[in-house]
Symmetry: C2
Subunit: 291 residues, 2 copies
């Protein structure tokens, strides 16, 4: 069993990006600038967005964090977005989700200019992704492609089973892996809450992407030998043996499933760090696209 080490791979990617930034600087060129908008004081969201700013610093990007009150109106938020769209110094930006309930997330996503939408959530970018055109692929699916690619996991002709059809992971993952691309050309089955006989299907899989958000859902009896498992889940589970009272659990029962695996991602340290690294990669791309 080979561990798909997202932490180490993300660190390598960040080193590569940092080198690229140095080279831009040496040529007297502008370095990438990522802005992030956060609305309100949700603890988890703040943690995520602070991590993104820290990542920027680490690779030499400029970054701007815009903290807005949770009382802001949708119109006010849209006008902040408009400013970032028009600000030539900002190469890409994100609006940290979720947003307070009085704000329509879809309107917000639609307001971000596709050329600055480094999260890859705008319909135009989702459409380009689905059409296999150059675009910002959203960070989690992009990170999974990159991880599979760097570990040379063979995907062509393999049967991939994706569990979970979210717009952020499951659905794009199923689209991408079935396309003609280096990491792709797989036969993909997309499964979800309405799927019958899931176990019959996962037992046929050469590669499983578990992205349903139910801790330790995928068990050893559901997979065949030599399977590759990508665990996208990350849920806090009560654990009294831990100092902070919880542990982070993936969607895969790692201890038992990993014994049957050719490759498997750990949680934490698998898909998570890759997601963070790919946001940087998209921001670099946004900068380069403008050259």
């Amino acid at each position: 069993m080979i561990l798909l080490d997202g932490k180490k791979t993300a660190s390598n990617i960040k080193d590569e990006i940092a080198l690229k930034v140095k080279s831009l600087k040496n040529k007297g060129k502008k370095v990438p600038h990522l802005a992030a908008i956060i609305v309100g004081n949700d603890g988890a969201s703040l943690t995520y967005v602070n991590a993104k700013v820290k990542d920027c610093k680490q690779v030499g990007f400029d970054s701007t964090l815009i903290k807005l009150s949770k009382e802001i109106t949708e119109q006010e938020l849209l006008s902040e977005i408009d400013k970032l769209n028009k600000n030539n110094d900002i190469d890409g930006f994100i609006v940290q989700l979720p947003l307070p309930k009085h704000i329509n997330e879809q309107n917000v996503i639609m307001a971000i200019h596709p050329d600055k939408d480094v999260d890859g959530f705008h319909p135009t970018n989702v459409g380009k992704m689905a059409l296999n055109l150059p675009t910002f692929i959203s960070a989690t699916p992009f990170g999974i492609l990159e991880l599979l690619g760097r570990y040379k996991v063979k995907t062509e002709g393999k049967h991939v089973v994706v569990i979970g059809r979210s717009h952020i992971v499951g659905s794009p993952m199923s689209i991408l892996l079935s396309q003609k691309r280096t990491v792709g050309n797989s036969t993909v089955t997309l499964t979800h809450s309405r799927t019958k006989n899931l176990k019959e299907i996962t037992l046929q899989a050469d590669i499983i992407v578990a992205a349903l958000g139910i801790p330790e859902f995928l068990t050893a009896d559901m997979v065949k030998d030599n399977v590759t498992v990508i665990d996208v889940g990350i849920t806090r589970v009560d654990d009294t043996t831990k100092k902070n009272g919880y542990r982070l659990a993936g969607d895969v029962k790692f201890d038992e499933v990993s014994k049957k695996c050719a490759f498997i991602t750990p949680v934490p340290g698998g898909v998570g760090p890759m997601t963070r690294a790919m946001l940087l990669k998209n921001t670099l791309l946004a900068r380069i696209n403008k050259e």
Copy 2:
């Protein structure tokens, strides 16, 4: 075995649209106006586009056919498109594909305003489709959904196997049928030229969408009893017993496969007429969206 009669269903849909047009007229409202651009004199393309104009007349739409020389430059074509984008009288328009080789089809598709893109080929509309947002679903997948829906073919929890990953049929079909929608909620496997053991997979299918463009590819030994088969293929095959020297063949060996089917589309008279009807439905939608 029940025949999914696309010809009859399309005729019903056209009657419904014609009624809707009458009601618009009675209210003193504008009727939908479809424009079609055709470049060059390709026989098949002319046949298709003339049929679309005829369909418009039949349901009471206004229509405009713009015939351009095959020598036209890409820039000239783009400026024609720009005129249609700006022409308030035109609710929706299409550019008949394929285009001469010196014109980049993707540039042309990108130039059509998404709100007038009744073919549903613009990335923004493809993205909205993938995100299950209201949009123009391209005519062939839309027609298949409609046909399944009107015949009340159960799709929820069913295993759908799509053969062929084209951007026009196979890929959107796989996306749509796996979504939370009335005709949808299926477990979908998307197969293609790199798929191994295709027969093993099709034998598990409750519903098969054959869209690979190889005449009579799907044979009886590849399907289980009570399967539903949607045949998207339509290829001219030499046939000396016919006056014109050919017959139209689907991707399914109809005579033998139909015996095992719960439902099956004929070729011709299945998916084809539905595709034509759904272009009208999208044009009506474009008109209504502007009200």
